[in-house]
């Protein structure tokens, strides 16, 4: 089974990289871009097992290593 983890900056945390991407998009002539926030996407291959247990385990991985919860939120999806 596969876990997909999205890590995003919390609201209110300044994202200078997102701002730079936003500026570049406008520079390329893409209109109507109101805001850009950048983050991380991590795929984890897991041994098959209970989906809920896997989700809890990956959430624990996020708490301990994958995300810094001072500034980041995370979401976990399990694809079995």
């Amino acid at each position: 089974m596969k876990a997909r983890v999205h890590i995003t900056l919390k609201n209110g945390v300044l994202d200078p990289q997102g701002k730079a991407i936003h500026n570049s998009l406008e520079g390329l002539g893409f209109d109507g871009v109101e805001d850009v926030r950048q983050g991380k996407f991590i795929e984890i291959e897991l041994a098959d097992g209970d989906t809920e247990a896997a989700k809890a385990r990956v959430a624990n991985m996020c708490e301990k290593l994958l995300a810094n919860t001072v500034i980041e939120n995370y979401t976990v999806e399990i694809e079995s």
Binding site: L14, P16, L65
Partner: protein
């Protein structure tokens, strides 16, 4: 000459370990022990330094991998017993990631790697790290980082300020704390903070890089003499 012992933690990608060892040796009169990250045994020492560099290539987040290495569990344990811990640059990032210090060092607001001398105001001189400076002194030492933008939640920031846990701030040459003197976007121009007990200091600037006349300045040296005196006492 002091019999006090110091350890410098070395990660793959550390690059200021030798600089800090030389600074400590000059102050202590003997060389610190260099301890490899994979060791789970840290000898009992009187001072631990976590050096600058790019531990584990800054993978995931600066300091994140190093913070979870076996040796850091020992560093956290010894810090809990009151052993002084000094983290510089990447060392500061490691200390925030492992929870010894609050907050996080984010990408510089300019997105640029910044490598130049900066002025720092010494906010307190009643700590084991800063007692050879005067409170309000302005010292000049280099910064060299991409992720030095100190950030934390408003409650933690208030607690740091209310409890005088900011050790150094980026400032103008006259000591004024201004936005123009803030190289990286850090909240309240924070360059270095202490833990609640005052035995752990993390800072982005590099006192060890200006601690010998041959390096062009000695503004960093008092930190190491202060520590040597503190742990010899």
């Amino acid at each position: 000459m002091s019999a006090a012992s110091a350890a410098v933690i070395v990660f793959p990608g550390s690059n200021c370990d030798r600089d800090i060892a030389v600074s400590l040796e000059a102050a202590l009169g003997h060389a610190p022990q260099m301890v490899w990250h994979g060791d789970s045994d840290l000898p009992n020492v009187d001072l631990i330094a976590v050096p600058g560099g790019f531990s584990y290539g800054d993978y995931l987040r600066s300091g994140a991998m190093a913070a979870n290495s076996p040796i850091m569990r020992e560093v956290v344990a010894q810090a809990g017993r009151g052993v002084p811990v000094l983290g510089i640059c990447n060392g500061f990032q490691v200390l925030t990631e492992c929870g010894l210090l609050p907050g996080v060092l984010m990408r510089n607001a300019s997105l640029k790697f910044i490598c130049r001398d900066v002025d720092l105001r010494v906010e307190r001189n009643d700590t084991i790290f800063t007692r050879d400076y005067g409170a309000g002194d302005v010292i000049r030492v280099p910064v060299a980082h991409h992720d030095g933008n100190y950030f934390t939640d408003p409650d933690t920031l208030k607690s740091l300020e209310d409890n005088d846990r900011v050790a150094f701030r980026y400032c103008a040459p006259d000591g004024a704390v201004t936005q123009a003197a803030n190289p990286n976007g850090s909240l309240n121009n924070i360059a270095g903070i202490l833990n609640e007990e005052g035995n752990v200091l993390g800072m982005m600037p590099h006192p060890e890089r200006l601690a010998d006349p041959q390096l062009g300045g000695t503004d960093g040296a008092p930190m190491f003499t202060a520590l040597a005196e503190a742990i010899a006492a």
